[in-house]
């Protein structure tokens, strides 16, 4: 899951980045509105956490521009305490949630999870297919009740596939959501194939009852029902 944090306050930005990274999210940062828009146009994100008060271009303008360009990534706004007017305006412009500063890190993470679930049409914090479970809160994966050790990238791939259950995910969009756009697409599709192979190996996914199925030439899909 790729998250973009936009804030002009350097220390807060770094703190958030560290915390979110420790939760195995892929995090990108922007220091102002223009940079944020630039990044949004470059590659898709799954969540935007954005301060409203910013130099150059404020958060509301970024939001407005992004929605106009049909970027429907969920947006979590960070506002000053009691700034009701801005909150209302933000929500009207298409923000999905807000959080008043100062906030606790746990609350931010919880809201982030909730927004990510909603966008993936999942409502429960635990994503499940067959006997494979991925807990988005504790960031743990179990297969048949036994814990599975995954690397950060493997976790992100599995998480993204589970969020998009029953939908084919192309290699490229998987790569974009897990790595961002800094890599060569061909390198990335190789990355994906190798990671999927390792992932399958770790969750004991082989033989006929494949959890992660390959759609030849396109990408991968996780389906609810075993066929």
């Amino acid at each position: 899951m790729r998250i973009l944090i936009v804030d002009d306050e350097c220390t807060l930005l770094e703190q958030l980045q560290k915390s979110l990274k420790s939760q195995r999210y892929i995090v990108e940062t922007a220091m102002d509105g223009e940079e944020a828009l630039d990044k949004l146009f470059q590659a898709p994100f799954d969540l935007i956490i954005m301060d409203i008060m910013m130099p150059k271009m404020d958060g509301l303008t970024v939001l407005e521009q992004a929605r106009k360009a049909e970027i429907n990534t969920p947006v979590l706004m960070l506002t000053a305490k009691g700034d009701v007017k801005d909150r209302v305006k933000g929500l009207d412009l298409g923000a999905d949630d807000y959080l008043a500063k100062p906030f606790s890190l746990d609350e931010l993470l919880a809201r982030a999870r909730s927004l990510l679930r909603r966008s993936g049409s999942q409502s429960k914090p635990v994503l499940q297919v067959l006997d494979l479970q991925l807990d988005t809160v504790s960031r743990e994966v179990t297969k048949g009740g036994k814990p599975v050790e995954l690397t950060a990238r493997e976790f992100s791939i599995l998480e993204f596939l589970l969020y998009n259950k029953n939908r084919t995910v192309s290699r490229f969009s998987l790569a974009e959501h897990v790595w961002g756009d800094d890599f060569d697409p061909f390198t990335m599709s190789n990355f994906i194939d190798v990671h999927i192979m390792n992932l399958r190996h770790k969750i004991g996914d082989s033989g006929y009852a494949k959890i992660i199925r390959t759609i030849r030439g396109v990408g991968y899909i996780i389906k609810d029902s075993a066929e």
Partner: protein, 467 residues
């Protein structure tokens, strides 16, 4: 030869020529003048002597007039009547020395030895006395006398010699002065050029907005400076326009490409089973090409925005962590190709720089190291840092690059092997981007390779803001 030397030499040459001409004129004038005066004196004396001897002859018959008494009389005179051999007069000097006859009207310089004991004429040791000899035809009482008259010019010669020496010394002196002055003048003349050169040298791609300071004057140098500035204006203009064009084009291309990709993605991820096989194949191929295009456009945008940049935001970048994290990603790929990856990074490597860009640079380098490798090959990443510099070398086994091609690897769109690269999907801009990023950090990147064996990319970066 430098212009300064040339100007110096030209000034010296001009000075010398005019000095020489001047000296020659002065010399000639000074040489001729005393002789003219002397000749006038000689003529007067000749007439006087002729008159005197005619007078004396009338008084004392036909015997030649003798004047041994006036031994100090400094003239050598012999007077003959024209057409006869009869000598009318012979001065004391004429008896001591014999001078060869000179034609009437002509003049000559003759030297004879007259011992000092006989007469003191300021002879030097050689006792040779130089005479100015002239012969005049003097008409007197209806007769014509041929008067050969001479006068020692020992002193005159000495003076002339002094004059020559003086002129020569003056000439040498003025030469030295000329060299000094012309050197100084050349420097003075070229001073604006030197300033212009210094300023022009400072102007590069990075600060094309810099201009040469032009004086208020309307002289040639100010004109030149203005012309250069004008040229720079146009250069900057076209440079900026070209850069903007590249940036704008890439940007314009991006939106339709993204739309295309999304459309293809949508078809691909929906049910493709009922599509005809050919359509499916074409769709996948289309997808591949759109991805490649998108990558190319992204790299172009990256490169052009890097080109526009002149300074970067420097923050601490923890290189050990950054490289380890990148290596973790690429190790997965390397493992799949059975490529052994060795990472030797001391802890706490760090620089001041732009993390995102540094990450992109090393991602490109590692990408190449995996792509242009062989199955069962090797990649070695070694890092080291000193007080001022950080050096990272990435060495990989692989086909390498021919020596003649090495200079071209940083060129845009250079590919070692077209077919191989296309299969790998590189944009051909990877190393150009690396180079630009390293340059922005004021670092250096070098590429070494032995064909068929290995390739090594070395990046060294200054660790602190400005060196």
């Amino acid at each position: 030869m430098t212009v300064k030397k040339r100007i110096t030499l030209l000034i010296i040459a001009a000075g010398l020529v005019s000095g020489l001409l001047f000296s020659a004129t002065v010399f000639y004038e000074l040489i001729e003048q005393p002789f003219d005066i002397l000749d006038a004196v000689l003529k007067e004396e000749a007439y006087r002597a002729a008159r005197m001897s005619v007078m004396k002859q009338k008084e004392s018959g036909s015997a030649p007039f003798d004047s041994t008494a006036d031994a100090i009389y400094p003239y050598w005179i012999e007077i003959y009547e024209q057409g006869t051999d009869r000598m009318l007069y012979q001065s004391g000097l004429a008896r001591l020395a014999t001078l060869s006859p000179v034609k009437a009207g002509a003049s000559a310089i003759a030297s004879v030895i007259i011992p000092r004991e006989l007469i003191d004429l300021d002879q030097d040791r050689v006792q040779e006395v130089t005479f100015r000899v002239r012969t005049f035809l003097v008409p007197l009482d209806g007769r014509v006398f041929s008067v050969q008259i001479a006068r020692p010019i020992e002193k005159l010669e000495e003076e002339i010699w002094d004059l020559v020496l003086g002129l020569f010394a003056g000439f040498i002196f003025s030469c030295i002065a000329l060299i000094a002055i012309s050197h100084f003048m050349a420097g003075k003349i070229l001073e604006p050029i030197g300033k212009m050169k210094e300023l022009t040298r400072q102007i590069s791609e990075e600060n094309l907005d810099k201009r040469i300071t032009t004086g208020q004057g309307r002289d040639e140098f100010s004109e030149l400076a203005r012309t250069i500035n004008w040229m720079l204006d146009r250069l900057q203009d076209s440079f900026v326009r070209q850069r903007n064009f590249l940036f704008d084009t890439s940007h314009e291309l991006k939106t339709p490409l993204t739309t295309m990709r999304l459309a293809i993605d949508e078809i691909c991820t929906s049910e493709t089973d009922n599509l005809p096989v050919l359509a499916k194949e074409n769709l996948f191929q289309l997808n591949n090409y759109v991805l490649r295009m998108e990558r190319l456009v992204k790299d172009l945008l990256n490169l052009s925005s890097l080109e526009t940049m002149t300074v970067i935001d420097r923050k601490p970048v923890y290189m050990t962590e950054l490289l380890s994290s990148l290596a973790t990603d690429y190790r997965v790929l390397a493992d799949a190709q059975k490529i052994q990856m060795d990472i030797h990074l001391p802890p706490q490597l760090s620089i001041q720089g732009d993390m995102e860009k540094i990450n992109r640079a090393f991602s490109n380098i590692l990408d190449n190291a995996v792509k242009y490798n062989v199955d069962g090959g090797r990649i070695e990443v070694v890092g080291a840092q000193s007080e001022d510099d950080l050096t990272i070398t990435v060495t990989n086994a692989g086909p390498g690059v021919a020596e003649a091609e090495i200079d071209k690897v940083f060129d845009q769109f250079y590919r070692v092997e077209k077919s191989r690269s296309l299969q790998h999907g590189g944009s051909g801009l990877g190393l150009s981007i690396v180079k630009r990023i390293v340059e922005l950090h004021k670092g250096k990147v070098t590429f070494e390779s032995r064909q068929g064996d290995w390739t090594r990319v070395t990046v060294s970066l200054p660790r602190h803001r400005e060196m």
